[in-house]
């Protein structure tokens, strides 16, 4: 199980996260939803230890990788057991999509034979010899997901990976993530799309959500709690998102 507990984070003096805790088990999905600026991406960056939390602990399968009190870190096992696809993607611009996708996996001696299958599943198999600036944002998003998937992580964090995808591509992404859930990969997914969130929670075992607002978790629970919110804030958010969808 991946756990990030009691995470606090401030930029300058402004608190962005306040005592936020999330967890995910292998084979299940935790979906983070909330308005822009609520701290979802910051939570992903701190929970994945890209940025150090100010306070809190991060542990993976019972092993503590970060404790703000003790500053204990052994990150060589942490990544890529857990890996992240960030909102801005950051494919390396001097490498083709194929090299971007294969390089980290090759360096970690992971098999790269499935690149064609993964890229076909994501609909980018024709683009592998192109450079990142020669494809669209949506195609870059899918390439970044392919790079992460090729690392065969046990836990995968995804930040707004469907923001530039059309409905068909989102369906393909869902199918790929469903297959990862079946392979016992734990997913933490930030999304603004209620349908995508709902599908992910349903497809894994014990799927759950956390609704963040102003740096705090306002409501969390399983798919039933998501469909029947207890707080007015989540109800309003769902209504607004539903109206747009």
């Amino acid at each position: 199980m991946f756990q990030a507990q009691d995470i606090w984070k401030s930029y300058s003096t402004a608190p962005v996260l306040r005592a936020v805790s999330i967890s995910v088990e292998r084979g299940s999905a935790t979906v983070l939803v909330g308005p822009s600026g609520s701290g979802k991406s910051t939570l992903l960056r701190t929970a994945s230890l890209i940025d150090d939390p100010d306070r809190g602990t991060v542990s993976l399968d019972g092993e503590c990788y970060f404790d703000a009190g003790r500053k204990r870190r052994k990150l060589e096992q942490f990544w890529p057991t857990i890996t992240v696809v960030l909102q801005q993607l950051f494919l390396w611009p001097h490498l083709t999509l194929r090299s971007n996708i294969c390089l980290p996996a090759q360096l970690r001696e992971k098999p790269i034979g499935e690149i064609d299958a993964v890229c076909r599943a994501l609909g980018i198999e024709e683009l592998l010899e192109r450079y990142p600036n020669e494809v669209s944002v949506g195609q870059r998003q899918r390439a970044a997901v392919a790079r992460a998937v090729m690392l065969r992580p046990q836990y995968l964090m995804l930040d707004e990976i469907t923001s530039s995808l059309d409905v068909e591509q989102i369906e393909k992404m869902l199918s790929l993530l469903e297959s990862k859930l079946e392979e016992e990969v734990g997913l933490i997914v930030v999304t603004h799309q209620l349908g995508f969130a709902r599908s992910l929670m349903r497809k894994g075992v014990n799927g759950k959500f956390a609704f963040l607002d102003a740096g705090k978790i306002v409501e969390q629970g399983g798919i039933d709690a998501f469909e029947h919110p207890q707080t007015r804030r989540l109800e309003e958010f769902r209504r607004a998102m539903g109206a747009i969808a």
Binding site: I50, P80, T83, F90, W92, P104, R108, Y131, N133, L151
Partner: protein
């Protein structure tokens, strides 16, 4: 600076150093500082998130430097480094100020004996063009080859 290093400084220190060694040492220091500044600027401007992408993919620091940072930085600094070396080559002209036997000083000496400045200094200019032009062309070729537009659309 050359003059200062060759005369007052050596008098102050009570040493006599061959002007050629003084010139080579000083130009080497200047060149080192210029190259370091080029690399420092490139490193400062390097997008941190490219490194983050490598870290979360399990790459070691060395692997990130080898496969991500160095290739990208090399592309951006190579043309500037070559241009810097051309400038350094031109700077060697000033070593004649401290009696180093470089091309300009030799040209001056020949001119003093045969009094044909147009021919001699034109020949000197042509010589410099022959030496520096290929380096400039190489810099342009490398810029064209390695600085492919990588900006995202």
């Amino acid at each position: 600076m050359l003059y200062w290093a060759n005369y007052p400084l050596q008098v102050m220190l009570g040493v006599v150093i061959d002007p050629f060694i003084t010139a080579v040492s000083l130009l080497s220091i200047i060149n080192t500082v210029l190259i370091a500044e080029v690399w420092r600027g490139a490193l400062n401007d390097f997008p941190r998130e490219y490194v983050v992408a490598g870290r979360v993919s399990g790459m070691t620091r060395f692997e990130i430097i080898r496969f991500v940072q160095f290739p990208l930085l090399f592309r951006s600094v190579l043309p500037i480094l070559l241009a810097t070396q051309v400038a350094m080559l031109q700077l060697t002209l000033f070593t004649s100020l401290i009696s180093v036997e470089e091309l300009f000083r030799v040209a001056q000496r020949i001119n003093a004996s045969i009094q044909q400045p147009i021919e001699i200094y034109t020949a000197l200019a042509v010589f410099f063009l022959v030496v520096t032009l290929p380096i400039y062309i190489l810099a342009l070729m490398l810029r064209y080859r390695y600085t492919r537009d990588m900006s995202e659309r």
